[in-house]
């Protein structure tokens, strides 16, 4: 046992040194006092995406050993990507909000409501599909604006505000859809644009949907906004220490409002992806998206206390969940054990986050 421990510790150190060397000279200047474990802890702290990435790589490696080639086949891997596309998109919205030390329980409801609006506009009212799409995106923006207003104006805690709006949006969705599903054939005949993101391209045996590609693009765009614009720095600062951000002249209420509106729009993009994925428009779809998106963000290493985490962590977090579900299914494990595993992953991820943050306390 002790030999395997020291073995993995050595691997980790080797990996640490390799990455530290690549990252430029300044990284190597942090005080190299303390044990190797402590240095590893610091490294994970400095690169929040590293821990989930290590888990993802280990998971892929593990399942390829257990399940064999079927798992590593490009088709299967692209299937995993397809399965995490919706969670990935909604996870982007959730990441933005969690970075501000908030939480949004209404993301799933916003997505479904927006998809119903898109569907009814295009099918029932016969509006041009591209206009219907825009109205759907506007629905996302308005619902996000409502959340943001409740939080910044009425000063409601995000948890409570979005717990309320979740129920309200979900009820509106049932009312507006009359609890009826718009069938896939109808959409294909009258508004194929709404299903466009479900189309696929073949790449070396992998089947990529346009939706997956859009998700990846969205990750890059939001990564850029968070890391290379002043707005992104303000999002982090607002979540990290709102009082300090305010004193530095940041209008934190505006930042928060912009985050909730943007998150709403991203959820509406998720609605488009959802229609592409399931083909139909169903008021009952995506019921688990809320908690799944939080799961992806948390496993991706974002701190629920705000200000810490990387947007790509969420992609990795979503992929970890996807890989575990897919791998366990291929290994013939009962669905209930998939849920069990995801639960353990969440607890381990949050435990690891606490441990990593202790590194600089």
């Amino acid at each position: 046992m002790s030999s395997t421990n020291s073995q993995s510790a050595n691997d980790k150190v080797a990996e640490h040194d390799k990455v530290a060397d690549q990252a430029g000279t300044y990284v190597a200047q942090f005080e190299s006092k303390g044990s190797l474990v402590h240095r590893f802890q610091k490294f994970l702290h400095q690169y929040p995406v590293a821990a989930p990435l290590i888990v993802l790589i280990l998971a892929i490696f593990g399942f390829s050993l257990i399940v064999g080639d079927r798992f590593l086949h490009p088709f299967n891997l692209s299937l995993v990507l397809q399965q995490v596309t919706i969670i990935g998109v909604i996870g982007i919205a959730q990441t933005l909000i969690i970075l501000t030390a908030g939480i949004d329980l209404s993301v799933g409801a916003i997505m479904v409501l927006s998809s119903v609006v898109m569907g009814r506009m295009a099918i029932d009212y016969g509006i041009d599909p591209s206009l219907a799409l825009l109205i759907g995106l506007a629905t996302g923006a308005i619902t996000g604006f409502i959340n943001g207003t409740l939080i910044t104006r009425l000063k409601l805690p995000p948890f409570i505000a979005t717990l309320g709006s979740w129920n309200v949006f979900f009820a509106l969705n049932l009312w507006y859809s009359k609890s009826e599903t718009i069938r896939s054939q109808e959409i294909a005949a009258n508004a194929p644009l709404l299903q466009w993101l479900g189309e696929t391209i073949n790449l070396f045996g992998a089947r990529l949907t346009y939706g997956s590609i859009l998700m990846l693009l969205l990750f890059v765009v939001i990564w850029y906004a968070l890391n290379w614009t002043a707005w992104g720095r303000h999002v982090y600062a607002t979540g990290d220490d709102p009082a300090a951000a305010k004193l530095a002249g940041i209008r934190t209420d505006r930042v928060l409002l912009s985050v909730y509106v943007l998150a709403g729009v991203i959820c509406a993009v998720g609605a488009w992806v959802l229609i592409g994925r399931i083909g139909s428009v169903s008021p009952q779809a995506g019921y688990t998206t809320n908690l799944d998106s939080i799961t992806a963000v948390v496993i991706g290493g974002c701190s629920l206390f705000g200000g810490r985490g990387s947007i790509f962590g969420t992609l990795v977090g979503a992929l970890i969940v996807g890989v575990f579900r897919n791998g366990l299914a291929l290994a013939g494990v009962d669905v209930l054990w998939q849920e069990f595993t995801v639960g353990i992953l969440i607890i381990v991820a949050v435990g690891a986050d606490q441990w990593i943050r202790k590194g600089t306390a």
Binding site: Y26, W228, T229, A230, R233, A237, D240, A244, A248, G249
Partner: protein, 264 residues
Amino acid sequence: MSVDMTQTPVLQAKRLVKRYGSVTAIDHAEFELYPGEILAVIGDNGAGKSSLIKALSGALVPDEGEILLDGKPVSFQSPMEARELGIETVYQNLAVAPALNIADNLFLGRELRKPGILGSVFRMLDKKAMEERARAKMQELGLLTIQNINQAVESLSGGQRQGVAVARSALFGSKVVIMDEPTAALGVKESRRVLNLIKEVRDRGLPIVLISHNMPHVFEVADRIHIHRLGKRAAVVTPQSHSMSDAVAIMTGAMEVDESTEAA
């Protein structure tokens, strides 16, 4: 260092009033800060000195009275407006975002964008320029112990964090730097460094308002000492003219000072 009081005060307040319901936090207070000086503001808890400082830094809008910057009346509705006019404040709670790095913190709220289309259309930050200016400022102020400008502020000691906050004020403050209890949370050695830093900033030509409870620190660095009591200025003394116990006596009301005689 002698203060040239024939000059126009850099920052001046005339008959400021601020009331909260039945409580008068600032009661027709006067305040003058002259070029090139460190003016300490002391007062007992509840004397209203923090309200006064908030009014001067834009965090509070006075009900009555007038604030003059370089002799011209100004009014600010927010700390941002005060900052835009060149009044920088270093807050007691440091006001740095712990998870952000030093350069990010120095430029927080005033980020530099890349020139050209990258900056104007894509709003791209000029991280390199910000890092370089941050490093230059930290070096200029003798904060050489901080080597990595990209390290998160939370990995710094309390004194180093204070150094970051002071460097930020020196980087952007063009008229006045206000420091609220800069040594309160620090150990002996770190306090020493910060006091030297304060003198360093003053010697570079920026006048400083220093709020502190620590009498030895006040008497060490201040050129003049503004003593606040019951919402207004009780006296202005110098470390040469009065002892620490005199200052405490005035602060607590045990000693009366006729302002017209001591002002000279």
